[in-house]
């Protein structure tokens, strides 16, 4: 990269800075982890105890027992993966239409997309639910998938990236006789890899952590997801924070497992594409 030889001093300073920043950022995670190993009554004490007196590892199996974590994890993974795939495909398709095809009404239509992003879900939750009930999608996985898979946000995100791809490049391809679909598949898609990864991570995390959606739409125990399971602990009359924290730690693992290999591809994949802006 850009740096030449750096002095030992700058190097050390950078490391110290990084370590401090990372520690601060991770502090809540550390607290979460330590709380997950405590007794209920030990979780909130003044001053904060970073180390539990005795490590209550049994909190983890307890979570496993109390909520059907295996089923919930399976559901979470299933829904998240399916929705992410559909979203990335349909959004990348639509974004091409919005950024690289010219037709009347395009911008008006796009403004509709952007507009809905700004409207809180609570506003149209009821009509949406009525509609879904008519279609028989309430309390089914396909119903939830149908709700989440066609995100306006994804289209918006990808369109912004596609706009950075120079039109001259596409014109050249058109002159070479490539159809619009060919241009999309052969030119735009490879160039948009980083954008697609951004959307993948964004969608994955959003759906993975989505709580309100499954809460409203899913009733059957065997169809529930992890955030719903976590929320089950948060009952007004039974607050077991150590279990909530244990469940949270557990729910983090799959996302992390996805992120770490993805991250490499993501940042390095961009460097090789070398075209944007």
């Amino acid at each position: 990269m850009i740096e030449k030889k750096q002095s030992a001093f700058t190097r050390t300073a950078i490391y110290v800075l990084l370590i401090v920043l990372t520690t601060i950022t991770l502090l809540p995670l550390v607290w979460m982890f330590s709380a997950s190993l405590k007794l209920d009554s030990e979780v909130f004490t003044v001053p904060i105890k970073w180390l539990p007196e005795t490590f209550h590892w049994e909190n983890y199996p307890k979570v496993w027992e109390k909520i059907d974590f295996a089923t919930f994890s399976f559901n979470s993974i299933k829904l998240t993966v399916i929705i992410t795939i559909i979203q990335v495909i349909t959004c990348s398709f639509a974004a091409y239409g919005f950024s690289k095809c010219n037709f009347r009404g395009r911008d008006t239509l796009f403004l509709c997309y952007v507009g809905t992003i700004a409207i809180p879900w609570q506003t149209y939750m009821l009509p949406q639910y009525s509609l879904m009930r008519t279609l028989g999608g309430v309390d089914t996985h396909w119903g939830y998938i149908a709700l989440q898979a066609f995100s306006a946000f994804g289209v918006f995100l990808l369109r912004q990236f596609y706009q950075g791809i120079p039109n001259e490049l596409l014109e050249a391809a058109r002159i070479d006789g490539l159809s619009e679909y060919g241009i999309y598949a052969r030119i735009v898609l490879p160039l948009a890899k980083p954008a697609l990864t951004t959307l993948t991570i964004f969608t994955f995390v959003t759906i993975w952590n989505d709580f309100m959606g499954p809460m409203i739409y899913i009733n059957t125990e065997s169809l529930k997801t992890i955030p719903l399971g976590i929320r089950m602990f948060l009952g007004q009359y039974s607050t077991s924070y150590e279990l909530i924290m244990a469940a949270s730690v557990m729910s983090l693992l799959p996302v992390f497992a996805l992120y770490i290999p993805c991250q490499r591809f993501f940042v390095q994949g961009v460097a090789t594409s070398g075209l944007k802006g």
């Binding site: 990269m1 850009i2 950078i14 800075l17 990084l18 920043l21 990372t22 950022t25 991770l26 502090l27 809540p28 979460m32 709380a35 904060i48 495909i89 349909t90 959004c91 639509a94 239409g97 095809c101 010219n102 037709f103 239509l109 403004l111 952007v114 507009g115 809905t116 700004a118 409207i119 809180p120 609570q122 506003t123 149209y124 939750m125 009821l126 009509p127 949406q128 509609l131 879904m132 709700l147 306006a152 946000f153 995100l157 706009q163 964004f202 995390v205 952590n209 976590i230 909530i244 949270s248 729910s251 983090l252 996302v255 992120y259 770490i260 991250q263 961009v270 594409s273 944007k276 802006g277």
Partner: protein, 306 residues
Amino acid sequence: MANKTIQGTNRKISLNTRNTVVGLSFILPNFIGFALFTLGPVVFSFILSFMKWDGFTEMTFAGLKNFQKIFGDKKFLESLGHTFYFAFFTVLFSMTAALALALLLNRKVKFVNFFRSSIFFPYVASVVAISCVWKAMFMENGGVINSALQMIGFAEDMLPGWIASTKWAMPAVIIVSVWRNMGYFMIIYLAALQDIPTSLYEAAEIDGASKWQQFVRITFPMLTPSHFFVFMMLTINSFKTFDMIFLMTEGGPGTATQLLSMYIYNKAFISWDYGVTSAASMILFLIVATITVLQFRVEKKFNDFM
């Protein structure tokens, strides 16, 4: 339609039609789902903003009454103000932090992946869990943050009350929000940074430009598309923030952290007044739409200028 037109314009029209068909074929797979499950309900609620409806019994036409109602409501205006306050600082600080972190981590250091992943972590963690943690950290006496402030020499009576004080609650939720956002946007900036051709820096180096000059003249302007994008995403998200604040402060103390999204939620699920709910949403929509359009304008101008 095409048959009736004269030969000359025929080609043009068919080209137009073809363009439309091709364009639509790209959009349609997404649009069908979007129109059915999002746009439809949204348009329905747009209509609702001119109606009086409790969600169950018959609705009646209300004209502009709902809008009159919200603009006469002190709480609405207050939450509108809070929303701007929250969004402004969240966007500003998140962008700054994300960019700074991206610059810091865009180099060959050991464990760079570990550092990047750690900074990214807050974005992934479940809101339910992190809001519990932050609440405990913001405790006035004995909380991690105030203990740390005390250690670096703040007098006890100078310590902020954070979420237990009307003045500091908003800064507290902004801090959490920035903490959550910065990792994700850092990644977006990182991706863009790697796209800046190294030759530009090499040339600048030869010209004897300092690191700071390189940043101002090369890095910052080269990141323009990312700035716009990050700004837009952050703006939309901050205007919609609900969960985190609801879990951390419930809009309190008093109404100190009540945002528009919470006002909307309360009107929908406590007052059962869908007309007012929709009217308030329309205002939110107008604000974000205005910002979006302005942003597009500026971006276009900027691109032409470049």
